[in-house]
Amino acid sequence: MSFLKSTLRNRSFMIGASFAALFIGAALLSYLWTPFDVTKLDIPHKLRKPNAVHWFGTDHFGRDIFSMIMVGARTSIAVAVVAVGIGIILGVPLGLTAAARKDSLLDEVIMRTNDLVFAFPALLIAIMITAVFGPSAINAIIAIGIFNIPVFARMTRGAALSLWTRDFVLSARVAGKTAPRISIEHILPNILNLLIVQGSIQFSLGILAEAGLSYVGLGAQPPLPSWGRMLAESQTMISFAPHLAIFPGIAIVFTVLGLNLMGDGLRDLLDPRLRQARK
């Protein structure tokens, strides 16, 4: 069975990928077009329930919730993508290096530093950064990104260590190849699957973390729209305008659910053991 065919047959992946594509598409589309201008206040039409004109209703300034969710997707996705990027760009080389120099002082230093960073949840990092520099979306990116580094470093090291004991790595060493070259030629291609799966998981965790940070005011600041802050603003009006809280929440749930399903699907698709079993 071809890879494409099995991909199309993997229900988790297809459902998840469509959710994810929907929100990424909405975020991209929001640069060109939104049903209403999210920066324009329209007080006469404030707090409208969902209707034919405003599909998801309006907020206390009369802004269109649907348009705000589209623009908010940008912030969430951008923060999460950059944070995963930071985690991969810094974490993977650290993990590869630690594995290549197993039990050396360098390995020890890298791994102990990882443990240390791991003791700081993203929120605590954000609290420290905000306490010193003030709140912004950049803080959220840095905080989540730093938190991602040890996640990728640990995963990479663990997977690389088991590969280093494999005979094909030994043959490469017999062929006189250096550790960095072996890491790039033999180790990295074989952990790519794991990286993709872990990346999609961290992506979804990043969306959740960004929402949480914005909710408590440590992330995106006005006027930058963000799902987390929409929820924070809705809180005082929740008893008479629940739609303000419901739609951004659903947007978060569907994006995260989509990414998680996609990750599960990818794991099945990319796992060579399962692929063999299907043959």
Binding site: A119, F120, P121, A122, G212, G217, I238, S239
Partner: protein, 315 residues
């Protein structure tokens, strides 16, 4: 066992020391002069000088770090600039809400996750399994603070079973206090329980495929007996790891959830302090939370040894 514990204890101490250095560097060194940062740009020169004196900024950074760590070891966390009260008293009050909340949530999530995970694993592929896994998939995706808001809408605003927020104080009785923490604990526990149930299920399924389970079956144990007597304890090793890792998410979650329910816990304290630029309080609360994460890792390490004789070493 003793040697293993001592080794873990040593690494606990080193982690705390390193963490304190990172926190001190970020909060007291990076902003340049903490005194003028805390007072803002419009501060008078003599006020800044007075604060510098009070914070002991006139000595070297290293000496300040030593005296900060030394103070914490003796229970002196400094004095809040905004409230003019010892930080340790402020934290003492707040921790009586945050700590019970975290423990409440952790117990709830374990109580939900273990049976759910075990049930799903033992009926793998059945409707029960698929429904439990579907529910956890959604549970993982729901932001806990949003779930908290929904709980407030349903149980406080519509059904009026719980109050929408605030904390009456433990002096009103244990039941009253716990009731006030119930909705926050449920909203914190839901995503945790979902993750834990998934890990429990996959760990059990993996362990059930191990050779020693087959050996047990060959002895005449039924599938159920093999799972309870052999697989479960081995599956606890990955589950414990996740409980340890999740604790830091739990702490982060608690800080956010306190905001939803207006609970006067450490989370509220730290956000107030940030807006008031009270770095001394921020520093202490962050250190305390990191301490909690590290301590939990230590406890998880000790539990590993209780579960797995290979870690205890030869006696």
């Amino acid at each position: 066992m003793l040697r293993y514990s001592l080794k873990r204890l040593l690494s606990l101490g080193l982690s705390l020391l390193a963490a304190s250095a990172v926190i001190f560097l970020t909060i007291e060194i990076v902003p340049g002069d903490p005194a003028s940062y805390m007072l803002g740009i419009n501060a008078q020169a003599d006020t800044v000088a007075a604060l510098r004196e009070e914070l002991g900024l006139n000595v070297s950074a290293f000496e300040r770090y030593i005296s900060w760590v030394g103070g914490m070891l003796t229970g002196d966390f400094g004095t809040s600039y905004t409230y003019r009260t010892p930080v340790v008293d402020m934290i003492g009050d707040r921790i009586m809400i945050s700590l019970p909340l975290a423990i409440y949530a952790l117990s709830l999530s374990t109580l939900i996750a273990f049976p759910a995970g075990i049930l799903a694993a033992s009926k793998r592929g059945s409707v029960t399994d698929v429904s439990i896994m579907g529910a956890t998939q959604v549970g993982v995706a729901i932001p806990n603070f949003w779930f908290a808001m929904l709980l407030v809408v349903v149980f406080s605003i519509n059904l009026r079973w719980f109050s929408a927020g605030g904390f009456p104080g433990w002096d009103k009785g244990l039941i009253v206090g716990l009731k006030a923490l119930t909705l926050p604990a449920i909203s914190l526990a839901l995503p945790q329980a979902s993750i834990l149930a998934r890990v429990m299920r996959s760990a059990l399924i993996d362990t059930m495929n191990e050779d020693f389970v087959r050996t047990a079956r060959a002895k005449g144990l039924s599938k159920r007996q093999a799972m309870w007597r052999h697989a479960l304890r081995n599956a606890m090793i990955p589950v414990l790891t996740i409980i340890g890792l999740q604790f830091s998410f739990l702490i982060a979650g608690a800080i956010i959830i306190e905001n939803v329910f207006f609970l006067p816990g450490l989370g509220r304290l730290v956000f107030q302090s940030i807006s008031q630029r009270d770095l001394i309080v921020v520093e202490s609360v962050v250190m305390l939370l990191v301490f909690a994460v590290v301590i939990v890792t230590f406890i998880v390490d000790l539990t590993y040894a209780a579960v797995d004789p290979r870690l205890r070493g030869r006696s």
